[in-house]
Symmetry: C2
Subunit: 380 residues, 2 copies
């Protein structure tokens, strides 16, 4: 049997609650697979780690993550470790991304079920059918370029950051976008987003995206949007961006969050951060090796509802599905989880008891949703 | 009588059509004022200037703009001078902003009339009552920092831009935001947007905004949002950002465009770019001097509908109102134009003939809307 080591980072706030359900789902879905053996290990990370050890990411947690096949995270942060604290949970997240080389952030924004259109801020005819996958470069650009803080003396009255990209950095993220586009049938179009009419880093970005796709993936459709124009389209006509949205770190931060509110609840959406993207051929090969990856729901730690057992675990459960797909190459159980989640969400529409949490006007608890997903998985 | 010199830059595509109507409105509204004398002068700018002179902003146009009291622009650009051309219309716009020191871009996003809620991509209960004014720093940040293009040799395989701000740059734009907030009664809250959890330039931004407001405008309400979170709120619950949104150049580019699609048609919205903001006291003082400013609708040159006389002139007409308000200190005729526009747009709802252009599912021509605004102005 293949043994996979999964590190669990529950984190802060509702993190532990949602991760518990996703871990149960992971165990349930793999229990049925005779040749797959998951070992789950839990580590401190984020605010809770600051409280215990004075730092968000300890050496022990980092080492565990480095040697793991994949990482499942809940959420980190909270008012206790706010913007004015010297040590903040996000620093741990940025350091972990960098240390593991997780350069590819993958964030789908779509409706698990049309019955959720009610919760979208967009009118139904605009929201229905939205199906975007934002692929954000995660360890380059202004996040990791040289920077200078405001100085103490009046002479040093500027502060700056460098938005910097190299050719290989853009090549590799473009290849990830291509693999994700090719995994769909027919392949998805790629929409590359930049600000090439102003920024040098964006001109490099555009040039390298064009060249890489032309040379290596000439079968894929590609177009380009300026970031300001893309931010309008996501609201006014998001279906025009259906497919893969490929962009740099800072633009991806903004646009992935913007698109994530379309499906109505942040509690629904998963994410993956990868150190590469295996191709479909890789998955099929006999000597497939796990691609390291960090999986987390896109929502925050929601301290206001923490400890009540009412958080929506769907985003984390779908993150677990992405973990199976991208890191372990287990497409079938990944798909099974996604189908089960769709059934659980649709249940209310069919006159069933309904398994939705409070963010979707439901009465159900975090654990009820986990239970129901596991129950349905058994029948699939 | 005060004589004001207004430079008109019709530009490309639908620019000349919409600017014609706004200029007529300006003349009509000031004809009634015995002590105000407007001199309108038209100059080449943008793509049409590239075609004639090889450059988007000639010395003659620049000099005229420098000595003018205010500038009214249509729109520039088009596929003829696309992203791959060496000389592009936008270069002229960036150069003009910089040369005139137009550091404060002001862009309201609101519903001129509730009858327009139909055209919003957002659900009515989310869109109704949205009333934001984005104040974007316009000549700093990554737009004007040092940059390096991708080199020709393999050793030079990076490109970068510098997001840089100085303390005085942030102070002055904060003061403009404060003046705009104070012009309303009660004063508007200020929402400052940054990415202070990652960027040094954003930490400077946040510190200076806080200090400037605390010291100079302690009566104003201030809060802070991270740019990713703000981009979500603009879609999911934009009224939370009602008031003044204060942000740096690149974030402002993205967020102002994002918010501008809420009112349903880009054709409706005006903008002002100022070299300062007079306070209410300034306007009232006897020796008020014009504040240089460039006024333009937020829409582009729309080459697809150019020459047909069907473009919506409302955004440009409202830009002319902002010109009267901010550059000439003429609040009353500015308000009169805004009221007249509201009446023209509302007309359809009252069973009247209706004066809406095709972007609002209307049958009326650019000129019809201009005529109607002028007709109503005469009755006010
Ligand atoms: C917490 C923060 C540093 C982080 C980012 O900006 O990358 C977050 O917003 C995200 O998108 O994961
Ligand atoms: C044309 C372009 C350079 C410009 C900008 O990015 O500032 C435009 O998008 C705007 O917002 O006025």
């Amino acid at each position: 049997a293949s043994v996979f080591r999964i590190v669990i980072l529950p984190g802060d706030g509702i993190g532990p609650e949602v991760v518990t359900e996703a871990a149960r789902v992971l165990e349930a879905v793999t229990a049925a697979l005779p040749d797959v053996d998951l070992k789950l290990e839990t580590y401190d990370f984020g605010g809770c780690s600051i409280d215990k050890f004075g730092e968000p990411l300890t050496e022990a947690t980092l080492e565990a993550c480095k040697s793991a096949d994949a990482i499942l995270m809940g959420a980190i942060g909270g008012p206790k470790w706010g913007v004015n604290s010297k040590v903040r949970p996000e620093q741990g997240l940025l350091a972990l991304r960098k240390a593991l080389g997780l350069y590819a952030n993958i964030r789908p924004a779509n409706f698990a079920s049309d019955s959720l259109l009610n919760y979208s801020p967009l009118k139904p005819h605009i929201a229905q059918g939205v199906d975007m996958i934002v692929i954000r470069e995660l360890i380059g650009g202004a996040y990791f370029g040289t920077r200078k803080e405001l100085g103490a003396s009046p002479q040093e009255d500027t502060a700056w950051d460098t938005m910097i990209y190299s050719v290989p950095e853009v090549q590799r993220i473009t290849r990830v976008a291509a693999q994700v586009a090719l995994a769909a049938n027919p392949p998805l179009p790629i929409h590359s987003i930049d600000k090439a009419n102003v920024l040098a880093s964006s001109r490099l970005w555009r040039k390298v995206v064009i060249e890489t796709l032309e040379e290596e993936f000439p079968q894929l459709k590609l177009d380009h949007h300026l970031v300001d124009s893309a931010s309008m389209l996501i609201v006014s006509n998001p279906k025009k961006l259906n497919g893969v949205i490929l962009t740099e770190n800072l633009f991806g931060d903004i646009l992935s969050d913007e698109s994530s509110v379309i499906p109505g609840s942040l509690g629904l959406l998963p994410s993956a951060s990868l150190a590469g993207a295996p191709s479909v051929a890789d998955y099929k090969s006999a000597d497939f090796k796990a691609t390291p990856g960090l999986y987390e729901p896109i929502h925050g730690s929601a301290p206001d509802i923490a400890g009540q057992g009412i958080a929506n675990p769907v985003g984390t459960i779908l993150s677990a599905a992405m973990l199976l797909r991208y890191s372990l190459g287990l497409e079938k159980p990944a798909k099974a989880i996604e189908d089960a989640v769709r059934k659980v969400l649709d249940d209310t529409e069919k006159g069933g008891a309904g398994y939705r949490t409070a963010d979707l006007a439901g009465q159900h608890k975090t654990k009820d949703v986990g239970d129901k997903v596991i129950e349905i998985l058994k029948t699939l």
